[in-house]
């Protein structure tokens, strides 16, 4: 008995703050059609989990992420376009939910900074090589 209690104390308490409900049909099950499954996976890796923030819903074990996966697979199976599902989610959770931010005034640094840094790197390297030669 004591041993069991000891063992129980190692179980994270947050594990109890989760539903006992079985996972939704397509939360952990691939679609039968390989092409549709690939499209669903591509989208799921680019949708951010709203519970375990920083993970995509394909990596997350959160119930809500599982339900989102099932929803995405079901909708793709019905023939909906991944881009339309992404837009639908952005309308509800904001740009935050997508790992593929479009180019806009706020995201411009995200897209332009790597190019700028690459340019600076190239310039530094060119200078360095010239210095070596001389």
């Amino acid at each position: 008995m004591k041993r069991w209690l000891l063992l129980l104390s190692f179980v994270a308490t947050s594990a109890f703050a989760d539903s006992h409900m079985a996972a939704a049909p397509y939360a952990y099950t691939a679609l039968p059609d390989a092409k549709q499954e690939a499209a669903a996976r591509d989208l799921m890796t680019e949708i951010r989990c709203v519970v375990c923030q920083g993970q995509s819903i394909i990596d997350s074990n959160a119930d809500l992420a599982a339900d989102m996966r099932s929803m995405i697979r079901t909708r793709i199976q019905k023939g909906e376009q991944p881009a339309a599902i992404r837009t639908w989610l952005i309308e509800r959770y904001g740009m935050w939910v997508s790992y593929d931010p479009p180019l806009s005034a706020t995201t411009a640094p995200l897209w332009l900074l790597p190019l700028l840094l690459l340019g600076i790197g190239g310039w530094l390297m060119a200078g360095r090589l010239k210095w070596r030669r001389s």
């Binding site: 703050a17 539903s19 006992h20 709203v50 923030q53 809500l64 339900d67 309308e91 509800r92 959770y93």
Partner: protein
């Protein structure tokens, strides 16, 4: 001039270190507000989740009277302490409807018997479909829905007794 350039990497490092330290000490808010506020409630028709309350559909919410829609669950710990606040709102004439997230009937019946039942309707959202369509990120969450079924405001997390006067005023204003 060369002296000046020598300081550039150091100052860039100091700047970045400053940003990292301040962000680590005060992490930016990790709540993701719903962007669906201002839009009509999604068309939905959820089955009854509890034995003692009828089911919940879009038509129940858009019946001309503003309401508080509470997303909760029997497995959600803060939802239990929030029940007292919802009971207080009901006493002040606010209609409270509930969506039970990923819940079973027996668990929910026990939860309501233990913590009280301020809800008029309770719909069971087994696959989080309505929660996702609302831009919800978890339980508990509450939404003010006006008489036409438009989402007016979202409250993330447990409602506290201090929120009650403002909530009552806002719900009365949301005709």
């Amino acid at each position: 001039m060369k002296r000046f350039w020598l300081w550039v990497p150091v100052s860039v490092f100091a700047l970045l270190a400053g940003i990292f330290v301040s962000q680590l000490r005060h992490p930016s808010g990790n709540t993701i507000p719903s962007h669906w506020v201002g839009h009509p409630m999604p068309q939905f028709d959820l089955p009854a989740a509890a034995s003692s309350r009828p089911a919940l559909s879009f038509a129940n919410l858009a019946d001309g009277k503003p309401k508080l829609l509470n997303i909760f669950a029997s497995w959600c710990i803060p939802c239990a302490s929030e029940a007292a606040v919802l009971a207080d709102l009901k006493k002040q004439g606010v209609e409270v409807d509930g969506i039970a997230l990923r819940d079973t009937r027996s668990d929910l019946d026990q939860f309501l018997a233990r913590n009280g039942n301020p809800y008029t309707h309770i719909g069971g959202d087994v696959s989080s479909s309505v929660a996702i369509a609302l831009g919800s990120t978890g339980v508990p969450e509450s939404y003010i829905i006006d008489g036409k079924g438009i989402v007016r405001k979202q409250y993330i997390g447990e409602l506290s007794p201090e929120d009650v006067p403002a909530l009552v005023a806002e719900i009365r204003a949301a005709q």
